[in-house]
C-alpha cells in the first residue's frame, strides 16, 4: 500500500552549504558553533602563547 504525503517546508536549503561529508567538525569555527550548545569539553586544549614583552 502506497502512502502519499504533502511535505511542508521546515527549512530552505542554502545554496552555498558545505556538503555533509566535508563539514570540518574539529576546526575553530565548528568549535565556536558547537561550544554554544554543547557542554564544555573537559579534554585537554591547546592555548596560544599570550606573552608579549619586547626586548
Amino acid at each position: 500500500m502506497k502512502t502519499s504525503v504533502n511535505s511542508a517546508s521546515f527549512a530552505v536549503a542554502k545554496k552555498s552549504r558545505v556538503p555533509l561529508a566535508e563539514i570540518d567538525v574539529r576546526g575553530a569555527e565548528a568549535a565556536q558553533q558547537l561550544g554554544r550548545i554543547l557542554p564544555a569539553s573537559t579534554g585537554r586544549s591547546l592555548r596560544a602563547s599570550t606573552f608579549n614583552s619586547a626586548l
Binding site: 517546508s9 563539514i23 614583552s53
Partner: protein, 718 residues
C-alpha cells in the same frame, strides 16, 4: 586566595642577562629593579637541565597538551649558538615526550644570522623581533650605548628571516609605542616588512612612574592606537595585529589573546640565568624585588611557584582587579590592564595607569565593530541554525569514529547520497526542530556512556528521500510497531510491542513498506484563518524537549478545536502586538501542544513553540515566541560572556539575577508594554553590563526601541 592552582603554560627562559643595545625605555635595565646586575651573564648547564626537568614534571602532572618556552634576555642571541643548542636539546628531550613544545625567541635581531636560524629551523624555534617602526621612531629609544642607530641591523635581520628558507620561523614584529612617533608612519613601516603578525605594546609605567604624555591628553595612547586601527581596518586588516584581535575577541565574547588585556589568569613564570624563578618580568618596573618569589629550579617545583601569593594574585580574574574596575563596563576587555601598570604606593589594587586609554581604546574599537546579530526576517538566523544542525550531525558521525555499527554506516552513506542528490530533502528534515533534539540526545548519550538512538538516522533519511522525491529503498527500524518519519507522520508497521527492521521504498512523493496497511497518521497543520500555516506536531518522539510534558496525540476533533483556538488567539496577537506576530511568522514552523506549564523554548532547533491550552492567550503566545526567538539567537551568536560574574536586581524577580536572566526577562517583557518602569530600569542596567558583547549590545538597542514602541502603544490604549 581561593580557586584551583593554575598551571604554567608559558616559561620565559632568560638565557642571557645582558644586552647589546641601550634602549632608554627598557624595563630590564632602566627600571626600579636592578637585579640583573647580580645575575650570571649566561644561563648555566645545570640551570638548563633542571629547568627542562621541572617543566617536563609540571607538564606531566597537569596533563598540559602544550607548553611554550620563550627564550629571552637581556638579548638571548648573546648566549651564542652553542648555548642555545644546548637549551633546545635539553628542552626537546625532556618535554617532547610529555607535551607539545612551542619554542620561541624574542630578540632585537642584531646578531641574527643563518647560523642561528639554521639552529632554530632544526628545533622549530620561532622568532619575534622588536622594532619600533620607521627609522625615526626606532631611533627614539632603540640605540647602542654610544648613540648609534640599530635600525639598519634590525632591517637586515628581518630581511633574513623573511627569506623562504626561514619564513616559517617568523613570528612577527613587536613594537613598543611612543606617542611622539607618527602612528601611521610606524604602522606603514612595519607593514612594509610583511610580518605575519604585529604586536603593539604600551611602554611599562606605573602610577609612581606614569607614562609620557607630551600633549597632556589622558587618551593619547588610545588615540595613537586607534589611528593605526582605522588605517588597518581601511586596508582590510592586511596583517593580524594581536592588540586589535584581542579586543575584538573579548568584545565578541571570546578570550583575551594577550597577557596585557583581559581577565584570563596569568600562566607565565620566568626562569632567570641563575635558575631563580620569578614572576612576570614587567613587575620589575614597579619596585626592587617585585618579581622575586624566593624559589629556584634546583630546589622547587613549578607548582610551588604557582601557589605563590604574588602569582595567585594575578590569577583571580574579576576578583583580582580593583573595585573601580569590577564595576566598569569595559573590564572584560581590558581586564584592569597589565598588573604592573596598576602599581601605586606599594599596592597593585588600583586601576591601570593607562585606564583612560584602555577605556577609550575598547570603546573606540567597539563603536567601529558591527554587531553579528543574525536577522530573522532575511533568513540569516535560519541559515545559521541550519548550518548548526548539519554540523551537529557531522559531529555525531565524527564522535562515533566508526563505532556506530552497520546500520548507522548504511544510513550515513544514504544520508550523504540524499544530501548530494536533493537540495531540499535532508535539509527539510534537519530543519525540523526536533531533529536537533534527537542529535543533542545522541551526543549526550555518547558523552555519558549510554547507547545513543542511532536508528533514527534511517528514519530521517527515509523522510528526506520522500521529501526530495528520490527513488530509492531505505532500511528503517520500527519500535512498538510504529515507524515515525520526521516532518511527515507515523506509520503502523506491526502490532504494539513489536520492533524490527523494514525497507521503505520511495517513488516520487509516495512511499510504501511491504506488507503494511494504511494506518498512517500524518503530521497535521493548523489550517485555520488567522494563523500562519504551522505544523501541529503532536507526533514526533523527540518533541519532549521543552522541560514540560508534551500533550499526547490529539484526536481529530480535539486537534481541530485546538487549531481553531490557536488561530483565534494568533489573530488577536496580530491585532494587539503586530510587530511580535510578524517577526514570529518569519521563523515559526511548528507548534507542539504541552500538557501543562509555561510557554516554553527547549532543547530543539528553531521554529518550535511549545504551549499548553491553559496559557494559550495573547500574552502567553507573545512570551512563548519571544523565548523561542532569544533561544535561537543565543544558539548561534554570543550575546554575553562570563554570565553570572555580576548579579542584578530585576523588578520581576525575587532575588538577584544574572545577565542572561536579566536579558531574557527584558526580551520577553519589553514588547508587552505592561512592565514599563521595571523594563526601563533593567535596560539601564544592561546598558552598563560588562558581560554584553557587541551583538548583545545591539540586541539591547533593539529592545530599547521595542520597549519604547510598546510603551507608547500602551499609553494610547483606553
Amino acid at each position: 586566595m581561593t580557586g584551583p592552582l593554575v598551571p604554567f603554560r608559558e616559561i620565559v627562559l632568560k638565557v642571557h642577562s645582558r644586552c647589546d643595545l641601550a634602549c632608554d625605555h627598557c624595563y630590564i635595565y632602566e627600571s626600579a629593579d636592578q637585579s640583573w646586575r647580580t645575575r650570571p651573564k649566561t644561563i648555566s648547564d645545570e640551570a638548563i637541565h633542571q629547568t627542562a626537568l621541572r617543566l617536563a614534571e609540571h607538564a606531566g602532572t597537569h596533563a598540559l597538551p602544550s607548553v611554550s618556552v620563550i627564550l629571552h634576555g637581556g638579548e638571548p642571541l648573546l648566549a651564542g649558538p652553542a648555548r642555545l643548542r644546548r637549551v633546545c636539546e635539553e628542552l626537546t628531550e625532556a618535554v617532547g615526550p610529555v607535551a607539545e613544545l612551542d619554542l620561541r625567541i624574542h630578540t632585537n635581531g642584531l646578531q641574527l644570522s643563518p647560523r642561528y636560524l639554521d639552529l632554530f629551523d632544526e628545533f622549530n624555534v620561532r622568532v619575534g623581533i622588536s622594532l619600533d617602526g620607521d627609522q625615526a621612531a626606532n631611533d627614539r629609544h632603540r640605540r647602542f650605548a654610544d648613540g648609534r642607530t640599530s635600525h639598519p641591523l634590525v632591517l637586515r635581520a628581518v630581511d633574513l628571516l623573511r627569506q623562504d628558507r626561514y619564513a616559517h620561523l617568523n613570528l612577527g614584529l613587536l613594537c613598543t609605542i611612543d606617542v611622539e612617533n607618527d602612528p601611521l608612519a610606524v604602522y606603514d613601516a612595519l607593514l612594509d616588512l610583511d610580518p605575519p603578525r604585529i604586536d603593539f605594546l604600551l611602554p611599562h609605567a606605573t602610577w609612581d612612574e606614569p607614562p609620557h604624555r607630551p600633549s597632556g591628553s589622558p587618551t593619547a595612547y588610545a588615540d595613537w592606537i586607534l589611528a593605526v586601527y582605522d588605517r588597518w581596518q581601511d586596508q582590510g586588516r592586511p596583517v593580524p595585529v594581536r592588540l586589535f584581535e584581542s579586543v575584538l575577541s573579548t568584545l565578541n565574547g571570546g578570550p583575551s589573546l594577550t597577557e596585557s588585556l583581559g581577565l584570563a589568569p596569568t600562566d607565565l613564570v620566568v626562569v632567570e640565568t641563575d635558575g631563580t624563578l620569578e614572576q612576570v618580568d614587567s613587575l620589575k618596573t614597579a619596585y626592587e624585588g617585585a618579581a622575586a618569589t624566593g624559589f629556584d629550579v634546583f630546589h622547587h617545583a613549578f607548582d610551588e611557584v604557582a601557589a605563590h601569593p604574588g602569582v595567585r594574585a594575578r590569577q583571580l580574574g574579576l576578583a583580582g582587579v580593583s573595585e573601580t574596575c569590577r564595576a566598569c563596563p569595559v573590564v572584560r576587555s581590558c581586564g584592569g590592564g597589565l598588573y604592573t601598570h596598576r602599581y601605586r604606593d606599594g599596592s597593585f589594587d588600583h586601576e591601570s595607569v593607562y585606564c583612560t586609554d584602555l577605556e577609550a581604546l575598547v570603546r573606540g574599537i567597539e563603536t567601529r565593530t558591527p554587531a553579528a546579530l543574525p536577522a530573522s526576517d532575511n533568513g540569516e538566523l535560519a541559515d545559521a541554525q541550519q548550518e548548526l544542525t548539519r554540523t551537529l550531525l557531522a559531529r555525531l558521525q565524527a564522535d562515533l569514529a566508526g563505532r556506530g555499527g552497520e546500520r548507522w554506516d548504511e544510513a550515513w552513506a544514504l544520508a550523504l547520497l540524499v544530501d548530494e542528490r536533493s537540495d531540499e530533502g535532508l535539509d527539510g528534515v534537519l530543519g525540523h526542530p526536533y531533529a536537533r533534539s534527537w542529535l543533542l540526545g545522541c551526543l549526550d548519550a555518547l558523552r555519558e556512556g549510554r547507547p545513543p538512538e542511532l536508528d533514527t538516522l534511517g528514519s530521517c533519511v527515509a523522510a528526506a528521500a520522500v521529501r526530495g522525491g528520490l527513488e530509492m529503498a531505505v532500511p528503517v527500524t520500527y519500535t512498538d510497531g510504529m515507524l515515525h518519519l520526521p516532518t511527515l507522520g507515523t506509520l503502523r508497521i506491526a502490532g504494539p510491542g513489536t520492533s524490527g527492521r523494514a525497507e521503505l521504498l520511495v517513488a516520487g512523493k509516495e512511499f510504501s513498506v511491504a506488507g503494511t496497511g494504511t494506518d498512517w497518521q500524518p503530521l497535521r497543520r493548523i489550517g485555520c484563518d488567522g494563523a500562519p500555516d504551522l505544523a501541529l506536531d503532536d507526533l514526533d518522539p523527540y518533541r519532549d524537549s521543552f522541560g514540560a510534558p508534551p500533550h499526547a496525540r490529539l484526536g481529530t476533533a480535539e486537534a481541530e478545536e485546538w487549531s481553531r483556538r490557536f488561530a483565534g488567539v494568533w489573530g488577536r496577537l496580530r491585532q494587539e502586538l503586530p510587530a511580535v506576530a510578524e517577526e514570529a511568522e518569519a521563523w515559526l514552523t511548528t507548534v507542539t501542544p504541552l500538557a501543562a506549564g509555561e510557554p516554553a523554548a527547549g532543547r530543539h532547533g528553531p521554529g518550535a513553540l511549545g504551549i499548553a491550552a491553559d496559557v494559550l492567550t495573547v500574552e502567553g503566545l507573545a512570551r512563548g515566541v519571544r523565548r523561542a526567538r532569544l533561544r535561537a539567537l543565543v544558539e548561534v551568536t554570543d550575546l554575553y560572556a562570563q554570565d553570572g560574574a555580576w548579579l542584578y536586581t530585576a523588578g520581576w524577580a525575587a532575588g538577584p539575577v544574572t545577565v542572561s536572566e536579566l536579558l531574557a526577562g527584558v526580551h520577553e517583557r519589553a514588547v508587552l508594554g505592561a512592565y514599563s518602569v521595571e523594563i526601563r530600569q533593567a535596560l539601564q542596567l544592561l546598558d552598563r553590563a560588562p558581560e554584553l558583547t557587541v551583538s548583545g549590545k545591539s540586541l539591547v538597542a533593539d529592545l530599547w526601541k521595542e520597549w519604547g514602541a510598546a510603551s507608547r502603544l500602551t499609553e494610547k490604549r483606553p
